[in-house]
C-alpha cells in the first residue's frame, strides 16, 4: 500500500501510534508542520496539544505533562533547540521520558529557515550543562521518520531520558512515495510504573537496569521531582557519595546499554577498501553513490548510522576493519567525522564531504572523494 506523504506527517503518525497524548511546541520553520498535525490530531485520541508562548514554555509543558503521566513529544528546529537546552538538562536530571524532534535547518543562529542542514548533531549531544548523555536517532527517509519516532517513544520509556529525532528540512517537508505495508511497526513499551500498594522511592540507587520506575503526579503515591542533585527520595543532596552515584547512574543507564539503543545499517562489501559513513538525509546520496560504484564493478562499503548518540562504537569499529579510507559526507563542516576519527586507527584516511550552503551533497561529490 503506497502513500505520498512527507516526514512531518510520518513523525506525527508515529507519535500518535506510539500512544503520544501530549504535545507542546512553538512555531518554527521547518518544524511547524508537525505542530499543526499534532494540534489537529491529538484531541481525537483524547490528548492535548498546545502552542507555548515560546520554546522554553513548550518544553516546560511537556516535562510537567510527562511527570503527570502523559507520553509527550515536542518539535522544533536548531534555534528552538537552543532554547530547549536548559530544560533538556532538567529532563536528564529528573529522568523525564520525552521525544524531541529537531528538524534541522541551516545555522548559525536563524541561518536559513528553509534550507537543509545537519549542523546540530554535536549540539544535540552536548547542548546542555553537565555533559550527560541523551539518545539521538537520525532517520534517513520518510518511512524511518515513522519507525524511528516509534523507536524514540520506546527508548524514552525504557531509559527515562530525552530522545531526539535529528531530522532535517528536506526529510520533514519533502513528500515521497512510501510503502506503508513495509513500514516497521516498532513495538512501544508501556510505561514502567511503581506498584500502587508499595512505598514509592522516586530515584532508588538500585533500580533495575539503572532506571527508576515512575509514578505519575496525581496517582497513588506522593512524587518528588527536582532539577537539583538529589537523594533517592528526591530531596536536594550535597552528599558526595549520593551525588556521585546519581550522576554516574544518569550516564551509565544510557551508555551501558548501547546494545538496546545502537542502530546502524551495514552494507559491507568484501574487498572494499573504502567505507562511506553517513546518517540522515545524506545517507540517501551515499546509497546512490554506492549503487553507481558497484555498477561500475568497484567494491565499496557503507555504514548508515541510525543512532547518532550514544555512538555505536562497536559497529563503527568493526566496519572500519580492513578499510584504507573512510568518507564521511555531512551537511556541516565535519561534526560526526570527529567521532569517526576518534574510532579509526591512525593509518585510516578519514575524509569529509561537507556542504553548508543549503544544497544536498550529491553522489558525484561523494564518489569524487571515494576515488581521490
Amino acid at each position: 500500500m503506497r502513500e505520498f506523504i512527507d516526514g512531518a506527517e510520518a513523525i506525527a503518525r508515529g507519535a500518535i501510534h506510539s500512544g503520544c497524548t501530549f504535545f507542546a511546541g512553538y512555531p518554527i520553520t521547518p518544524a511547524s508542520t508537525i505542530l499543526l498535525h499534532m494540534t489537529r490530531e491529538l484531541p481525537k485520541v483524547g490528548g492535548v496539544a498546545i502552542q507555548g508562548e515560546d520554546e522554553i514554555a513548550s518544553m516546560g509543558f511537556c516535562i510537567g505533562a510527562a511527570m503527570a503521566g502523559a507520553r509527550v513529544m515536542t518539535s522544533t528546529s536548531g534555534p528552538g533547540i537552543s532554547l530547549y537546552s536548559e530544560n533538556v538538562g532538567l529532563a536528564i536530571m529528573g529522568e523525564v521520558p520525552m521525544v524531541i524532534v529537531d528538524a534541522q535547518r541551516m545555522g548559525p543562529a536563524t541561518g536559513g529557515a528553509t534550507t537543509v542542514a545537519q549542523g546540530d548533531v554535536q549540539f544535540l549531544r552536548w547542548g546542555t550543562s553537565g555533559g550527560f548523555p541523551v539518545i539521538v536517532l537520525a532517520p534517513t527517509d520518510v518511512a524511518e521518520c515513522y519507525s524511528f519516532t516509534r523507536r524514540a517513544f520506546d527508548l524514552a520509556e525504557r531509559f527515562r531520558v530525552p530522545v531526539f529525532i535529528a531530522t532535517d528540512k528536506e526529510t520533514v517537508l519533502s513528500r515521497a512515495t512510501v510503502d506503508v505495508l513495509a513500514w516497521e511497526e516498532v513495538p512501544v513499551r508501556e510505561r514502567s510504573v511503581a506498584p500502587a500498594d508499595a512505598p514509592f522511592v522516586p530515584y532508588p540507587k538500585d533500580a533495575p537496569r539503572g532506571v527508576p520506575l515512575m509514578s505519575a503526579v496525581g496517582g497513588p503515591h506522593l512524587v518528588r521531582f527536582t532539577t537539583s542533585s538529589h537523594d533517592e527520595k528526591g530531596y536536594l543532596s550535597k552528599s558526595v557519595a549520593e551525588v556521585g552515584a546519581l550522576n554516574r547512574r544518569l550516564a551509565s543507564k544510557v551508555e551501558d546499554h548501547l546494545d538496546e539503543i545502537g542502530m546502524v545499517e551495514v552494507d559491507l562489501e568484501p574487498g572494499a577498501d573504502v567505507l562511506v559513513l553517513s546518517y540522515g538525509i545524506t545517507a540517501r546520496s551515499v546509497k546512490e553513490a554506492v549503487r553507481r560504484r558497484r555498477a561500475a564493478g568497484v567494491p565499496i562499503s557503507s555504514l548508515t548510522v541510525h543512532t547518532l548518540w550514544p555512538v555505536p562504537e562497536g559497529a563503527i569499529r568493526s566496519a572500519l576493519e580492513g578499510v584504507r579510507r573512510v568518507v564521511v559526507p555531512e551537511l556541516n563542516l565535519g561534526q560526526y567525522r570527529l567521532e569517526v576519527e576518534r574510532l579509526a586507527q591512525d593509518f585510516v584516511d578519514v575524509r569529509g564531504v561537507n556542504r553548508v550552503d543549503g544544497e544536498l551533497i550529491t553522489a558525484d561529490q561523494i564518489l569524487e572523494e571515494v576515488a581521490a
Binding site: R13, F22, S174, V217, G218, R224, T362
Partner: protein, 442 residues
Amino acid sequence: MTPPDAPRGSIALPTYLDPATLPFPFCPGCGHGTILEHLDKALVRLQVDPKKLVLVTDIGCSGLSDKFFTTNAFHGLHGRSVTYATGMKLARPELHVVVLMGDGGCGIGGHHLINAARRNIGITVVVFNNMNYGMTGGQHSVSTPPLGVTTTTPLGQLERPMDIAGTVALNGASFAARTTTFHPDVTDLMVRAMSNDGFSLVDVWELCTAYYATTNKLSRKSMEGLLESLSFPTGVIVDQPRIEYAKGYRAQSADLVGQPAMVSRPITPQWNSALRRPLSWVIAGAAGKRIGSAAGALARGGVMSGLWATQRNDYPVTVRTGFSLSEVILSPEEILFTGIPSPDVVLDLFPEGHGKVAGRIEALGPEARVYRSANVAAVETRAKVTTLEFAAVKGFERKKESWTLMAVAAALRDTGAYPIDAFRQAAGEGNADAVEAGLGLD
C-alpha cells in the same frame, strides 16, 4: 481547589507540613516561613487530598519550600515553574497545582506568568516578593523599589518596579491579590486563590533580612508606606471567574474525541507507466500560482501509475509573495537522492521564479525539455523549448492560477511519463477543465 477532595469520613488533616523537616531554615526575620505557615493554614482549611496537590517551586530561597510539605513536589528551573505547573494541569486537570516563586522568578519567567494569566490555566501562584535576589547575594529584581540599594544597584535602582499582581490581572488572571507578611489576610487570600478555578496569583511582599531590608532600612511600617508610594494597592486586585483553560480545551475538543487520528490516505496504482528511468521536473513560478498543488498532482498521478515520486518545494518565508518552486522526481524505482542536479523537464512560467531556473535552463542538454510562458524572458539553451500560449486559450486567458496545471498537463502529454487519466484523477474534478485546456496547448 474545593473541599470535596477531602477524604470523606476521615479525620481532617491538621497540617500539610512535615515535622521532620522543621524548623524552616530561613534567616531570622525572613518572611518566607510566615508565607509557608499561611500556606499550610490555607491547605488545612481547604483539606485538599495531598496526592492531588503538587507544589511547584522555582529557584531561590523560596525554592526550598516544597521539602517541608507532605505533598507532591516539583522543583524546576528558574522562572519556568509556571510552565511545569501548566503542563501538569493540562495533562491532569483534576490536580491542584500551586507554584511558589520569588520576585526573581517573576522577572526571568515574566513571559510565562503573563501567558498563564491569559490562558487562565487553573494554577495558583504565590509570589515570595522580597524585592531582591536573596540566595545569590542581594542583587536587584523586577520588584526592587526606586532608588533601592542592592549589590547590583549600589547607587540606587533606576528601574521602576513591576506590578506583578496588576500585570497578571490586566492580562486575564481570574484572581489576583497583593498583601504583605504583616497583613492578617494572607491565609484568606490564599484560600480564595486556590478556590478559584482558573489562574490565581497572590503577591506577598516581605522582608529579606539578609540583604534588602537591612541595606535599605526597610521595616514593617515603611513597607506599607512603600506600597502606597508605588500606588500598589493591597487586597484583591481582580476576582473575575471565567472558563479555566484545561476545561475549556476539553470542552472545545469533546466532539473530536474518538475520531480516527492520522488517517492513512493510500494510493492504489490503477494505471501503468512505461517510464524506464527517473524523470525529474522543476516547476518555477510565483506564489499564488498553485505551483505546489500542480506539482503534487503530477507526483500523485505518478504514484497512481505505479511510479515512485518525490516532491520538494521551495519558497521565500513570505509565502504569499515572490517565487515558488517545486521539484518532482518520477521513477520506476525507489528514489534515493531527492535533489535534481540537471532536470529533464523545466516549466518556467512566471517572472518571480524565472531567476531561480534561468541558469539551470542555460546548462541543459539537448535531451531536456523546457516549457515557458510568454511572461518570462527566453533563455539561450540547447534544450527543446516550447512556448505555451496561455493567453490564446479561451476561458483561461486571465486564469493565471490555472496555467501551472495546464503546463504540467501539456508537458506530461509530451513526455508520456504516465497515462493522462492518472493525472486527470490526481488533479481532481475541480481542475478537469484546466487539464483539458493544457492538453490542447501546442
